[in-house]
């Protein structure tokens, strides 16, 4: 089912929001408002945006560390997200975060993220298993980088997911680099999707810069998962515009390559699609202005929230009813 114009408009806005949130964070880093560790998802926005457009609110998402867009697309509270990056009490984790976002919101199906790369495979398979054993029809989406697919957890989870026909979608963001190591020097096959064959799992390779291609592939996989047809592995070929983290000198790739990546900005493609459907540049400028106002207002509110003190360190270790 192709994306509707409304969905495309929303995708454009989510991408703009994500770009602006990352810009705000870079500004916070510059002006010293907070000591933030950012793994930018610039260039990869189409993946989270397209994928989450194919989900229900109660479907579960395990997002990656490059996941600002993924969180926004699934409906994270903007102020909570910014507050988390800023390490403020009003942030998603009550001031514990400052970079690798660990926002959760059960009402939006935001389940969290593994700090160890590849740690999420078993978690997402487990969530899908939970939904299956509870007898509900939620599906689980796990977005991960291709580098983490070299963890043993990938194998254990893929085998079990296919064996038990777990209602889940694995969406690989292949940006060509495991931190600094090029894909070909870390992975035995060109396409991570090839590995699906070994598990008897359907797979698909798509253009990760094309939000509609992502949406369509995920929508098809969601339908299969919800209908009892089991998991799907989707590999989205994408491009990382910035470094692995902010401050990464990127000595391992050429400036030309980075410039090439900028030419394939996924938001530009959405803009072209919208214009071909009759929207104008002015319409898009209005949307961008609305997003800017939204992000600036949320950032201003997030900054007002206090930073946590030492007492915060002991909070939330155990469940409220059992905490001593």
């Amino acid at each position: 089912m192709p994306m509707t114009e409304d969905q495309l408009l929303k995708a454009y806005r989510i991408m703009e929001r994500s770009i602006l949130v990352e810009q705000a964070i870079l500004r916070f880093i510059e002006d010293g408002s907070s000591r933030v560790l950012l793994h930018s998802g610039r260039g990869q926005e189409a993946i989270g945006t397209g994928a989450c457009a194919a989900l229900r609110d109660d479907d579960m998402l395990f997002y990656s560390h490059r996941g600002v867009t993924q969180l926004l697309a699934k409906g994270v509270d903007l102020e909570a997200l910014l507050g988390d990056f800023l390490g403020r009490v009003g942030g998603a984790t009550g001031g514990l975060g400052a970079g690798i976002v660990h926002a959760v919101d059960a009402s939006k199906g935001l389940m969290g993220s593994s700090g160890t790369l590849g740690g999420g495979f078993v978690m997402s398979a487990g969530a899908a298993l939970g939904a299956q054993r509870l007898g509900d029809d939620r599906v689980t989406l796990h977005i991960f980088g291709e580098g983490s697919a070299n963890r043993g957890t990938f194998h254990e989870s893929a085998n079990a997911a296919a064996l038990w026909k777990l209602p889940m979608i694995w969406l690989c963001e292949n940006n060509g680099y495991s931190v600094s190591v090029p894909h070909r020097e870390a992975t035995s096959v060109e396409d991570v999707a090839d590995r699906a064959k070994a598990y008897g799992m359907p797979s698909k390779i798509i253009d990760g810069q094309d939000v509609e291609a992502v949406h369509d592939a995920v929508a098809e996989a969601v339908e299969r998962a919800r209908g009892g047809g089991g998991p799907t592995l989707i590999e989205a070929k994408t491009l990382r515009i910035r470094g692995h983290y902010e401050g990464d000198p990127q000595t391992y790739r050429s400036k030309d390559e980075i410039a090439q990546a900028r030419l394939k900005d996924p938001q530009k493609l959405v803009a072209e699609r919208l214009i071909s459907r009759g929207r104008t540049e002015a319409d898009l400028a209005d949307l961008r202005a609305a997003e800017l106002a939204l992000v600036e207002a949320a950032a201003a509110r997030a900054l007002v929230s206090p930073k946590p003190g030492a007492e915060r360190l002991y909070e939330g270790l155990l469940a409220p009813r059992s905490a001593a």
Binding site: H102, D105, S124, G126, L134, T153, E156, S157, R321, S322
Partner: protein, 335 residues
């Protein structure tokens, strides 16, 4: 403690665990059991025998040999709203799944801001039992002193096996449930009815005024046996079973030391880096002035468990070792 008006029956530790699983599977439809060979085979130690037939394959089922998945999948399922009870076939395999236990089960709530619960039970048979060798015989509760989001339970009796497993399944935090393999056939009274034993409350199976013996799991009965021998010599030992590592009922131990002035700590795993060291550190910090002599560790040797069954008994403390330690520490009493 709750439940039970009727007279206790005599059950094995294994049967008590199985009864707890059956009752909780019946009580709560979100509970499921998974692990290697826990299905029709009934588990390597027989704890889940007959459960697949009783509850169906969707609630009690086998997994592949995939320890990361067993624990991590349990965490994920718990986040999705289930209450999984997963079995690691041997506690040693916790070392394979350490990322899932320490980084996921224990930390998920905390690192995600406190909004999510992980009501997961990880059952894991630990300890030495008849020639299973270096990778299937370890007692490794000491590795979890610093797992602040995890509870660690170690039942020493059939009654506790039942009551604590039921409490663990109902707990909103992840619980590592360490069953000592040599206790599976141990028999004892187990109350009927909905018998639940709160986690983190120490038991004091024997009262005494002369010395405090803190012992975990299999070493509780070894220490009680030692206390009998000491009683014949006129020494009254108090035996405290913390019933686990986290949460630790330190107050029960401190209160006892205030009366006895002597502390012996007994556990099965190796003495170095073992359970006793951290406990003694906590006691000495808080009760240096109550102690009449240095606390003593009575624990496993600093070596790996050999496969040779004839060497096994040489590795872990017996009642004589505990008796000797008590005699030595009382002899050191000043004045």
């Amino acid at each position: 403690m709750s439940g039970s008006d009727e007279a206790p029956r005599i059950l094995s530790y294994r049967a008590a665990l199985r009864e707890a699983l059956i009752e909780e599977l019946e009580r709560d439809p979100t509970v499921f059991v998974m692990g290697q060979d826990v299905g029709p085979f009934g588990g390597v130690f027989g704890v889940t025998k007959g459960l697949t037939e009783m509850f169906g394959k969707s609630r009690v089922f086998d997994t592949p040999i995939s320890e990361n998945l067993i624990v991590g999948g349990g965490v994920g399922a718990a986040l999705a709203g289930a209450r999984p009870v997963v079995e690691l076939q041997y506690a040693d395999f916790a070392l394979i799944a350490m990322d899932e236990i320490l980084n996921k089960a224990a930390k998920w709530r905390y690192m995600h801001g406190g909004g999510q619960s992980v009501p997961l039970v990880i059952r894991a048979p630990e300890g030495i039992l008849g020639g299973l060798g270096p990778e299937h015989s370890q007692s490794l509760a000491q590795y979890f002193w610093g797992a602040f989001g995890l509870k660690v339970a170690m039942p020493a009796t059939p009654a506790d096996a039942k009551g604590m497993l039921k409490a663990a399944i109902r707990d909103d935090d992840p619980v590592l449930f360490l069953e000592n393999k040599s206790l599976y056939n141990r028999r004892g009274p187990v109350p009927t009815g909905d018998y639940v034993t709160p986690l983190g409350v120490a038991a004091t199976p024997r009262r005494g005024k002369d010395v405090t013996i803190v012992a975990w799991s299999r070493m509780v009965s070894v220490s009680l046996q030692a206390a009998e021998t000491l009683a014949a010599e006129g020494i009254e030992a108090e035996v405290i079973d913390p019933r686990g590592v986290r949460p630790l009922d330190l107050n029960a131990i401190l209160e006892s030391i205030d009366r006895t002035g002597h502390l012996i700590v007994v556990h099965e795993g190796p003495v170095t880096g073992g359970l006793a060291g951290e406990l003694i550190a906590q006691v000495v910090e808080k009760r240096f002035n109550s102690l009449k002599a240095a606390p003593v560790r009575v624990a496993g040797l600093d070596a790996y468990v050999p496969q040779n069954i004839e060497l096994e008994p040489l590795l872990t403390p017996d009642a004589n070792a505990v008796v000797e330690a008590v005699r030595r520490t009382l002899a050191r009493q000043p004045g």
